[in-house]
């Protein structure tokens, strides 16, 4: 059904010469190549697996079948968040009918040789892909970060195919692996946004909401942003939200991201359909990302979606100086990875939040598995992705605001707005 050319080694994998588990994985990769119309496969240097999050028996059957057939990953492979926090047992309120297979799923992926990183932000780990590397990453925020900020090349991989790519070390030569599919399709002019406004991660998340809605699955080029205000945490917030409100898997920022720098002077990049982004559009995005009104009583604050970085723990510690303990009726949740938590704790950056009552979640995330208590009904967050998904997943009301708005609110026990941060 497709004219797919395989190398001798790829043919041996498909025909069972590298074991039945590898053959099963190769059948999936070859089938995907047919779906995408690819003519050949290409090697990858690494993989990030999202299939380790439990969505039912089929996902567990798939991983256990591969492991039972003796498959193992052929490239360095990291694991996305799971449904459980293994470092803080009892935190996740999953019923045993789901918790037991969710744990078995985690064990199956470790048996396949993947690293127990359990994070949605593998780009915050010490080892990460470089410019131009072909990789197979799943998880939408990781995909958009790898493509945009690191300049590595990954399609929008997801369940089943992520692990099959890791086992075979191959993906179809298609989509965002091809340079011609990485060229921007529209320009979003951000020169009207004051640099002071862009000092808050949440403002970048609001920008991401606008970018996602404007771009759909296209590739936006953001222009007019002072490179000095763009850091990885802010680009993370932008990408994660743009991948939620739209299907953005790659964006470019002029003067900031590597492929934009390499394309400087390319006429195609300066002749795109353009639209302007205004401060008013960011305020509108802020309001659209909120389902509860100002001054609502607040039950919780959710930070670290995607997972908090060491630098974000540092920013939080600095922001907490001079602030009192959090209100006893408002729980501050911070999601991060084990690896980042260990580094941040070593640097003394976690303790200021913990001393004020914050609770740390690792291995998983507060919007994908039941962690919040039934009394936690209104939640504030600077994360556009949390604001986008939590009302649907958890049935909570959400208020979207900057980190300092969130901290003011957590101390007061009710929503406190600072409109000065949004002008």
């Amino acid at each position: 059904m497709t004219d797919l050319a395989l190398t001798g080694e790829e043919r041996a994998m498909l025909d069972g010469g590298r074991g039945p588990g590898t053959a099963m994985a190769m059948r999936m990769v070859v089938a995907l190549a047919g779906v995408l119309g690819a003519e050949r496969l290409i090697p990858i240097t690494g993989a990030h697996i999202d299939s380790c999050l439990y969505h039912g028996q089929a996902g567990l059957d798939f991983a256990q079948r591969l492991a039972g057939l003796g498959a193992a990953v052929a490239v360095p492979t990291t694991l996305n968040v799971s449904s459980l926090d293994l470092m803080h047992p009892g935190l996740v309120r999953l019923p045993p009918a789901d918790a037991v297979p969710a744990r078995a799923l985690m064990d199956a992926y470790r048996a396949l040789g993947a690293r127990a990183t359990w994070t949605c932000a593998p780009y915050q780990l010490a080892q990460r892909p470089a410019l131009g590397e072909d990789i197979a990453w799943a998880e939408s925020n990781a995909i958009v970060f790898a493509n945009s900020v690191l300049g590595a090349r990954t399609e929008r991989y997801g369940d089943f195919i992520d692990i099959c790519a890791a086992i075979t070390g191959r993906v179809p030569h298609a989509g965002l692996h091809l340079p011609e599919h990485r060229v921007p399709t529209l320009e979003l002019d951000c020169s009207a946004l004051p640099a002071a406004l862009l000092a808050e991660e949440a403002v970048w998340a609001a920008l991401g909401d606008v970018v996602g809605r404007r771009s759909g699955t296209g590739i936006p080029l953001l222009t007019g942003i002072d490179p000095a205000v763009a850091d990885e945490d802010r680009l993370k917030a932008l990408g994660a939200t743009a991948a939620s409100s739209g299907g953005v898997a790659l964006f470019h920022v002029a003067g900031v991201t590597p492929e934009a720098a390499a394309a400087a002077g390319d006429p195609v990049w300066s002749a795109l359909p353009a639209a302007a982004v205004t401060t008013g559009m960011l305020r509108a995005a802020r309001d659209e990302l909120s389902t509860a009104g100002p001054s609502a009583p607040l039950d919780a604050v959710a930070l670290g979606t995607p997972h908090f970085s060491v630098r974000e723990f540092g920013k939080l510690a600095a922001a907490l100086e001079g602030r009192p303990a959090f209100h006893p009726g408002c729980t501050v949740w911070i999601n991060t990875s084990r690896e980042v938590l260990a580094q941040a704790r070593e640097a003394g950056l976690v303790q200021p939040a913990e001393e004020r009552g914050a609770r740390i979640v690792v291995d998983t995330c507060t919007y994908i598995t039941p962690i919040l208590g039934p009394e936690e009904r209104t939640v504030m967050t600077p994360s556009g992705k949390w604001a986008w998904y939590a009302p649907m997943n958890l049935g909570v009301d959400v208020v979207f605001g900057t980190l300092s708005e969130c901290l003011d609110s957590a101390c007061a026990g009710k929503v406190v707005r600072d409109d000065g941060q949004w002008n």
Binding site: M28, G56, S140, G158, I161, G247, Y389
Partner: protein, 167 residues
């Protein structure tokens, strides 16, 4: 191609196989894109996305007609789980090469031997099928890449008597 071997197929649509298999059921034409993850219940196959116009409908045993899925790649797992549990669609007809839908069907075929066909149609065929919501359709998707859809009723007045689509 045409499905000359099928009985009384006045409305006969050809497409391209994304996942081989066969199935039949009543057409369920989605009027908006749907994310299987978050938008459908993995245990029942019901559409639970409150914002979706077909909220409350069931995917179980239906021939789904949609342009493409939307949102999370976790949708592949949810679709495979619905097929495993017997509450998934009988076939899926798309107008885009949607890897998320295809991988869910491919994984279920690999694990359980249940071959739910996924077929790529051109926009014209999809649009004509889109007016036949509820009509029973039989879908055959061959491993050679050729796929066909046969409806069990005569087409409505005003439609061409027989559609011929490039295979």
């Amino acid at each position: 191609m045409t499905d000359s071997g099928t009985e009384g197929g006045p409305a006969d649509f050809a497409g391209r196989t994304l996942c081989p298999g066969g199935g039949s059921g009543a057409l369920l034409v989605l009027s908006e894109p749907l994310s299987f993850w978050g938008g459908t219940d993995r245990k029942t196959g019901l559409i639970i996305d409150a914002h979706h116009p077909q909220h409350g409908g069931s995917l179980a045993g239906r021939v789904l007609v949609m342009d493409a899925s939307r949102g999370s790649s976790s949708s592949s797992s949810v679709l495979a789980e619905q097929i495993r549990a017997g509450v998934g669609p009988a076939a899926v007809l798309l107008t885009a090469r949607d890897a998320i839908v295809a991988l869910g069907a491919l994984a279920a075929a690999e694990l359980y031997g249940t071959h739910v066909p996924v077929v790529l149609l051109d926009a014209g065929a999809s649009s004509r099928l889109g007016r036949r919501n509820g009509v029973t359709a039989t879908v055959r998707a061959g491993a050679d890449g050729r796929a066909g859809v046969v409806l069990d009723q005569a087409p409505a007045a005003g439609l061409p008597p027989r559609s011929r689509e490039p295979a």
